[in-house]
Every structure is written in C-alpha cells, then in structure tokens.
C-alpha cells in the first residue's frame, strides 16, 4: 500500500476537476494538489459536450433573464440563491476561458459570439462551433500543465472516501497500470467525477460515466439529492445514442414527425411561426421536447427505424456553408453513424439519457455535509438545475462551481491538519478488502448479465414517464441485483490494467445509483420537470416543493428525506413556452 500525501485531492480530471485544480494552484501555489482520474484528463466526458456554455455578455441580455429562464426551466426546484450566484459568476468564468485560449467562435467585430439555446430568452450561449466541451476541456487541461503544484495521477481508479464519520481524510484508489493500492490523504477532497448516464442503456454518455464519485460520497454517508431527475436530451442518434447538439435547433433546425409535421405545436410550444424564435417550438426546454416525442410515439406518428422509433431533425434550411461553419461535428457524426448528410437529408433522432440533475448534496461553496469533502460538476447537486437543466448551463456550472470547489478546498487545506495514519488505516483496509472480495469469487454472476438486467429496469420503469407499479417492480429488481452483485465473478485476476475489475467496481456503483434513482422517483408523487408520473400528473407545490435526499443504509435501500427549496424572489408559477412566452 502506497501513501500519497497531498493538501487537496481531486477525484476526476474533467472540466470541473481541472478547473478546481487550477483554482487551488492560483489560490496558493504551495498547496500540493493530487489530481486523480481513472482516465487521462482529455478523455473525460466534458469532451463530448457540443452546443456551448451560457453566460450573459451581450447588450440587451440581463442576469435577471438568465436567472428567470433557469428557475422556470428547472420547474422551480432550483435553489434560487445558487442560481443568483451562478448567473452572476458565469460571464467571468467564460471570459477566463477566453483568456486561457479557448477558441470561442467570434462575431465579425472580433467579439465572442453567442447563439440561441432551448429555454433561454436571449442569445447567451458561448460556443466553439459545435465542439464547445472539447475545446473547454482541452483548454483547461493544457492550462493546467503550467502549474507545478498540480501533480497528476492519470489512470488511478478511486474506490472510497476515507472518513471517520466527522471529516474526510482522503480517498483510496488503485493504480490502473500496476494494480497497486494507493491511499491519497488530504484534509480536503473534491469529487468531480461527472454523471451516471451509464445506469441507463441508451445514453449520450461515454463508458466512463458510471457514477463512481456519487456512489463514493453516498457510501461515505453524504446524501444524494434529487436523483429522480434524469434528463433525456431530445436529439440523439438512434442505435448509438450519439448526441446531436441543441445548437442545431439554436441555429434554426426543426423537428418533424412521420408526416413532416412540426409536432411540437401540439404540446403548448407553438405556434410554429415565425421561426427561429426563442423559448418556443424547437427551442423549448429539453424535458418538454422529450415528453412530446413520447406522446407522438404513442400516437403512432414517429418514424420506425431498425434501431427504434425516430423523428426528423431537419437543418437543411441552414445551407451547407452555415452547417460547415457552425455545426461541422453534427455533419461529421450524422454522416458517419447514420449515413445521413444533413445538408441534403433530415437527421433521424430520438430522446436519449443525457444528464443527471441530481447528485452529491453540495452548497454554494461546493461543500458537502461531510467536513472536508467537496463536489462539483455533474456529480454534484448545488441545485442550479432543479427538475430540468437548461442546455448550456452545465458547462458554465462546472467552471463556476469547479473554481469555487478549488478555492474552498484550498481554504480548508490551509486551516485543517492532515489526519494521522491511525485515523484512516482501518477504513483504507476495508476499502481494499472490498476489491479483494470481488476478485475472490471464482464463479458466479457476470458483469454483462447484471448490467443488462439493470438497464432493462431503468429504461423500462424509470424513463421519461413513470408510475407506481413499474417503479415498485424496479425497486424489487434492483434490490435483488445488488444482492446478486455479491456473487459477481471477475475472471481476470491480473494486476496490470485489469479493466474487468474496474468494470465490476463501476457496476457496483451503478447499482447503488440505480437504487437511489428508483426510490427517489417512487417517493416523489408528483410530476415536475424531467420527473413525470403518469399516476400523479400534476406538480404539487404543497407537498413537493422540496429536494429529495437519499442516504445510504449500507446494503439496504436508501432512506429518503426532504428539504425545502430555497426561494428568494421568484414564486413558483406556470412554465410558459411558445407564443405566450414572447
């Protein structure tokens, strides 16, 4: 067992983790940062974000508008104090990226350009063509190289948060290359491991997005908040689930059903013209658009394809020159993965699991209830996204709260003493013992078998629309799967790059997350944002204007508590899109 002593340990080196690391280095270059990730930084899934990052910079746009759009977009489940801070710090966070070299697309006068996005009243989404996440991630990674106090531990798979119940003392990990057991100790730990889309079978998320960090915090006693809210992005490619950015609609793309009809006008998002028009039709919020697909499918108005029903995303009217300038990746992906050149044909698309609004309970300083443990990015829930995130708020979120996590972790590291080995030794051994047990089984359940069964219940029972019966079924199945997980067999016993072992550990985390999602969804007997209950079709502010908080009870199901939403100046109202929103 090797011990690495640091002042701040960061788990996850995607957008939020890198931003946090830079913030620590800038706050105090004498603090030793251990930046760990199960992959190289540039493989992190921030890389796949396409459309852009929201921040008020143009004349005519206001922080108040960004606040209102975000709060109503989140169906009033956002903590408004968090949203106020978020919209206020957003422009500076994006400018900082510009100063570090991010190749933002430009206006003719050389200023940063912005585009329209769903649910946003004004143009405020900064973009780098349709590879915004890619450029943000690479800019952050490349910038991070110049800080000697950031020591990277690429390809270290984190296992558990070390805690004595009072404070966080570090994390355990396995070096992927050697299989060596490593303890990272520090008085401050930042979890920045992204979301858990892989809990579902059909997702835009990469293979690595298995909710490891969420599950680490959960096992350490930190509640997971609002986990019933899972966002379906309305436009993924059938079969693969590859994301086709909302920017395609922001630039003027339309959605049509099998009759060539712009069906969104039937779902309180019309009238269709004039187009393009913000907060209407194809520029409505993601939850409403994905739900509209579900209804079209039931009406038999979607288009059948060999890999599931689709509708058409049509961007032909933009013309080849504009598509090449603004949406080159959309063209590349469509041509390669569905054989469609969007210059000449509409792109087949369907809703696909994209983003977890819920996550590790974190406050405005990215601090969790466990002293010394911070969380930022998709794995965290600061509650700026509420029940439905608006497109282009998440890239900004990881910058704003990644930086805050770094600054506050630095503050904590300077104030608190490191824990002694005797304080964490037992917890570390228990953590490694868990891995040893997993490797000890010779025969038993298979990873693919349990994973496929988990996928069947998440998609089948906890998808776009939910109801009590199927959710109860899912609750029983997931409990059984967790029990069977104890008999999982890992045939690969090697130390070096034992990817099967890591897949097994990821599956364990995903089962915990799936169980939390199902229980949180069962508890919320109302429909709000991305959580739609067929048996409780209305929003119920009397009972459920509150966050769900799922706490681990070990091998058993979570305990669900509730906490009121923070409201500062926007009382819950009706979400208005389409004509009346103008």
């Amino acid at each position: 067992m090797r011990t690495v002593i640091a002042d701040v340990v960061i788990v996850g080196a995607g957008g939020a983790g890198l931003r946090a690391a830079i913030a620590v280095a800038q706050t105090d270059p004498s603090l030793r940062v251990a930046l760990t990730s199960k992959v190289y930084p540039m493989r992190s899934h921030t890389v796949a974000a396409e459309g852009g990052a929201a921040g008020v910079i143009k004349e005519g746009d206001t922080l108040e508008d960004h606040f209102k759009d975000t709060v109503s977009g989140g169906d009033w489940l956002c903590d408004q104090s968090a949203v106020e801070l978020f919209v206020d710090e957003a422009p500076k966070a994006l400018l900082e990226l510009e100063h570090w070299g991010c190749p933002w697309s430009r206006e003719d006068d050389g200023r940063v350009a912005v585009r329209s996005f769903g649910g946003m009243k004004n143009k405020r989404t900064w973009y780098a063509a349709d590879k915004s996440g890619f450029h943000i991630l690479h800019t952050l990674f490349q910038t991070s190289q110049q800080y000697p106090s950031i020591r990277r531990f690429d390809e270290y798979f984190a296992l558990d948060v070390l805690s004595d119940g009072e404070r966080c003392m570090g994390v355990t990990a396995i070096e992927v290359r050697t299989g060596e057991r490593v303890v990272f100790t520090a008085p401050a730990v930042v979890i920045a491991t992204g979301g858990a889309g892989k809990v579902f079978p059909f997702t835009t998320n990469g293979a690595i997005k298995t909710g490891d960090g969420m599950a680490m915090a959960y096992r350490a006693g930190v509640p997971l908040k609002d986990m019933e809210f899972v966002q379906y992005h309305p436009t993924g490619l059938p079969g693969t689930g590859i994301l086709i950015t909302e920017g395609a609609r922001g630039e003027g793309g339309i959605l049509t059903n099998k009759d060539g009809y712009r069906y969104l006008q039937d779902y309180n998002l019309g009238p269709p013209d004039p187009w393009p028009r913000r907060k209407a039709m194809e520029l409505g919020p993601r939850d409403r658009l994905s739900q509209a697909f579900w209804h079209e499918q039931r009406k038999g108005r979607t288009i059948q394809s060999p890999v599931g029903d689709v509708v058409h995303l049509d961007i032909r009217q933009l013309g080849e020159a504009k598509i090449n300038e603004r949406l080159p990746f959309v063209r590349e992906l469509s041509r390669a993965y569905v054989g469609v050149d969007p210059v000449h044909e509409p792109i087949p698309v369907r809703p696909v699991v994209h983003y977890c609004m819920g996550g590790i309970d974190a406050d405005l300083n990215a601090a969790t209830p466990l002293e010394g443990l911070f969380a930022a990015g998709e794995c965290a829930c600061v509650s700026i996204n509420g029940a439905n995130r608006l497109g282009s708020n998440s890239l900004t979120e990881l910058l704003v709260f990644g930086a805050r996590a770094g600054r506050h972790a630095a503050e904590r590291a300077r104030a608190a003493a490191a824990a002694s080995e005797s304080a964490w030794r037992e917890a570390a051994e228990a953590s490694f013992e868990r891995v040893a047990r997993l490797l000890g089984n010779e025969e038993g359940e298979s990873i693919a078998g349990l994973r496929d069964e988990m996928h069947a219940i998440t998609e089948g029972c906890a998808g776009i629309y939910r109801e009590e019966g199927p959710l109860n079924e899912a609750r029983e199945t997931v409990a059984a799967l967790r029990e069977r997980y104890g008999r999982l067999a890992v045939e690969d016993k090697s130390l070096r790059f034992n990817t099967q072992l890591f897949n097994a550990l990821e599956l364990g985390s995903m089962l915990e997350i799936a169980e939390v999602m199902v229980h949180s969804a069962l508890g919320r007997r109302e429909s709000r944002g991305a959580h739609q209950r067929l048996d409780y079709p209305e929003r119920d502010d009397t009972q459920f204007l509150c966050h769900s908080l799922a706490s681990s009870q070990g091998d058993g199901p979570p305990k669900i508590d509730y906490r009121p939403v923070t409201i500062t100046r926007s009382q819950p109202g009706e979400r208005v899109y389409g004509g009346p929103a103008q």
């Binding site: 493989r43 796949a48 510009e98 070299g101 190749p103 490349q142 990469g206 390669a336 990873i447």
Partner: protein, 247 residues
C-alpha cells in the same frame, strides 16, 4: 438479429503471463451498423472478459480507442465493420511500449505536450473585464490545429517517432503551432527551444503519414512545415532581433 459473423483477431499481451504478444481469435456475430469497438465490447461482454483496451465516448472525440485495425491506425469507434473484410486484426498502436493487450504507454506523449508549452502565453493583457478581440480570420489561422483529440494515430503512423525516441512528434508540435498562431499568444520564442531543437520540427522528414491518418484533419505535417519556415526566419533575423532586445 445478427447479420454477419466476423473473425476478430486481437494481439494479446499479458505481461504477467507471457513474454511475447500472441494473436487470439474470436468469432463475433455483428450488426450491420457496428464499429470495431462494438465487436471488441461483444468479446469482452460475452466471450472473454480479460481482453483489455481503452474506450469511452464512442463518438470519435475522446481519443481513447486508437489502435491498429488491419495494420492501419484507426479509432475503433469510427472503424465501421462494413468497410472491412470478415477477418479483422486489431493490435496496439505502433511506436509505444505496450502495457497490456491493446493498451499503450502514452507517457512520452504527455511529456511532449508539456515540453512544447502547449498553453496560452499571453502577448498582452486583455482589456479590463473584456475578451481579447479575435477576428474570424485570426481564428481560422489556428482553428484547425486546435482540433487534435490526442488519439496518437499520428505517432503510430510516423516513421520518425519510431526511429527517434526523443522526437516530440506530430500532435505535440501541431499543438505548439496552434498556440504560436493564436493572435492572443506571444509565446513562440519560449516554445522554440523545444520545437526547434533536435527533437523538434527538424526531425520531421515530411513523410506526411500523420496528416493522412488524422481522424480530425488537423494536418500536423502542414503545421510542422510552417514551423520550419518560421524557425528558419527566426535564425535569419536573429542579428536584428538581438539589436531590438538591446535597445
């Protein structure tokens, strides 16, 4: 569901078990729209859980799954089975030590990225509270070189990477050029000691294979030729620049 069965041969290397790599064959029932990565995932899920490789995004942007497919460097997630015969061989990228199976040791590349100072070294401070102005033509000067996903196909394709262990390589040099060409940057002379060294652009013999295999059309070969030109001009202008520095 299956429309076709392919024979997928994987160059296996498990350092704890064997001294030399060996080919292992799997028969994989495939769907028409599959890529090589899907076939590998089928093997891992259903035939042999010990086969090891890196992957994540499955959309040709994270750069994890570079490997040789029938001897050509390719992204496994963008190598469509329909473009290959029924017998496909996958092997790790060339010119890197192999850690295990299809997984290479990429330390050399990570070090090269830092050696060329692949980050913005500002030429001047931006205006208070605002952005640097950058025209679209200024953006166009470097945009292509900023598209590198660090997949390392170009290192596998480049003969010089194989011949000279110290060579910084196409992707790292292209990224140095990306910053040199950025109107916000003033760091070219700070990058020169690395990029114009014996391990830098002059190692390139302009075979051009790097640009051929690049899945993102970054054209590292073009970047390197432009850097050679700039480096030559630096050398020619050195006496004048010295005088400027003195003044």
């Amino acid at each position: 569901m299956s429309e076709r069965t392919i024979r997928l041969e994987v160059l296996r290397y498990r350092p704890e078990q064997e001294d030399e790599p060996t080919w292992q064959a799997y028969d994989v029932p495939c769907r028409e729209e599959w890529v090589v990565l899907d076939a590998l995932n089928y093997v891992k899920d259903h035939l042999d859980g010990t086969v090891s490789y890196r992957w994540s995004c499955h959309m040709a942007v994270c750069g994890s799954c570079g490997m040789r497919v029938n001897d050509e460097p390719a992204l496994a997630c963008k190598a469509f089975l329909r473009d290959y015969p029924d017998h496909i061989r996958v092997a790790p990228l060339d010119h890197f030590p192999v850690e295990r199976d299809l997984i290479i040791d990429q330390d050399r590349f990570m070090e090269s990225l830092s050696a060329v100072k692949s980050w913005l070294i500002p030429a001047a401070q931006p205006s208070e509270g605002g952005e640097y102005r950058q025209t679209q033509s200024e953006l166009a000067r470097f945009r292509q070189y900023s598209m590198c996903i660090n997949c390392l196909l170009c290192y596998s394709a480049c003969p010089q990477v194989g011949l000279n262990e110290g060579y910084l390589g196409p992707a790292a040099l292209a990224l140095a050029h990306r910053y040199n060409e950025d109107s916000r940057d003033g760091g070219r002379l700070q990058r020169n000691p690395a990029t114009a060294s014996n391990e830098g652009v002059w190692e390139c013999t302009f075979v051009g294979e790097c640009s051929e295999v690049c899945p993102k059309h970054v054209d590292p070969a073009g970047a390197i030729q432009q850097m050679k030109l700039a480096s030559s001009l630096d050398w020619l202008l050195r006496p004048f620049r010295k005088r400027e520095d003195d003044s």
